[in-house]
């Protein structure tokens, strides 16, 4: 049986402040490498004090462009997360699913605005 992988965000970023998209990218690269090998991954938020959507979009949101929801749901787990951080991650995940699964809807938002603009003319 293959060993589960644990990725400590604190260890990779080297700081409790996980705010930069570039730091999120480092996490993404490790997560993607593990998921490509069909490994179960636990992402540990131990000792992380501050998160931003920019960091989480790069680290986790980006996964939805490369892996299916089923793959991510079955292989990826999080631990040691504060409830409000979980809520932020959930929003990032929902946004990412829409961004990748339904690009037309994102474009629709643009079209709707264009429509409003044109109506106003």
């Amino acid at each position: 049986m293959q060993k589960d992988v644990t990725i400590s965000i604190f260890e990779v970023v080297g700081s409790p402040l996980c705010v930069a998209s570039s730091d999120g990218q480092k996490i993404y690269e490790r997560l993607a490498a593990a998921l490509k090998e069909d490994r179960s991954v636990t992402l540990s938020f131990h000792n992380v004090s501050t998160l931003t959507s920019a960091f989480l979009n790069a680290a986790v949101g980006q996964l939805y462009g490369e892996f299916s929801e089923e793959q991510i749901r079955s292989l990826l787990k999080v631990q040691d997360m504060q409830p409000d951080d979980m809520a932020l991650l959930k929003r990032v995940v929902e946004t990412a699913k829409q961004y990748f699964k339904d690009p037309q809807k994102f474009d629709q938002a643009v079209q709707d605005t264009l429509g409003d603009e044109n109506d106003g003319e």
Partner: protein, 287 residues
Amino acid sequence: MLPEIRHGQSGYQALVRLVGATKTCIFEDIDIDMGATAWFDADMCAALGAILYRLGESLNTVRLTNIRPGVENILLKNGFLSHYGREKIPDRWGTTIPYRRFDAKDDRFFADYIENELIHRSEMPAMSSGLLKKFRESIFEIFSNAVLHSHSKLGIFSCGQFFPKRDRLDFSVADLGVGMCQNIKDNTGLDLSPEAAIAWATEGRNTTKRGPVPGGLGLKLLVEFIDLNGGCIQIVSDAGYWRREKGKTLTASLVHAFPGTVVTVEINTADTNSYKLTSELSAADIF
């Protein structure tokens, strides 16, 4: 001649007038007469600093003259005038959050600055741990937004001030990037007015992000937090002005364009919201 610079639309109008008046200056000596500047809200140093830095890039020599003692005192304490040949003076009451310029890659320096100069300062008003966390996240969202969207090569400028008696903390981040209007046009094809562009960026699922990393949450989170906190947020980008306070939004057009974007937040430090979630989310429900 620079008039009073207050944290608001009139202050930004005055600053963009300075941009308009110096637009064509290259290799010039520019004296900015501050004799009429009877008041200067310290966080507006971020926007003024960005404007003056850009003038320096065009090899102009900028001098700030006739600064009134009260204003001079603030600008010396927060280190702004250190950029213009003066020495920083101690901040006896510890109410200034120093003026700084960062490069887009300086996210670690910015994080240290926020921790040392804002969060862990003994003079900071006592805020609930929930508020402090949300506040800190919001500041980082603003900085990340500037890094991700502005493509600013000239840097990111920040400054703040808190007002213990009014339970308010003002903080501004300015960049010298492409501005929201141009960024939206380049990435979505939408040709919006500068103020409509700001409104667009703060609404719904709108994002200019394209490519492998999704986006479009940062500004919305910021606006949600400010609405709950009872504070105020102002955004200036290009010639657009956008303000949200008590759930109401105001937009206006400025007389000239700011050469980038400024985000200014006013936080209610006496906010007693717990920011704790009413329903527990399970880790198993996230993905």
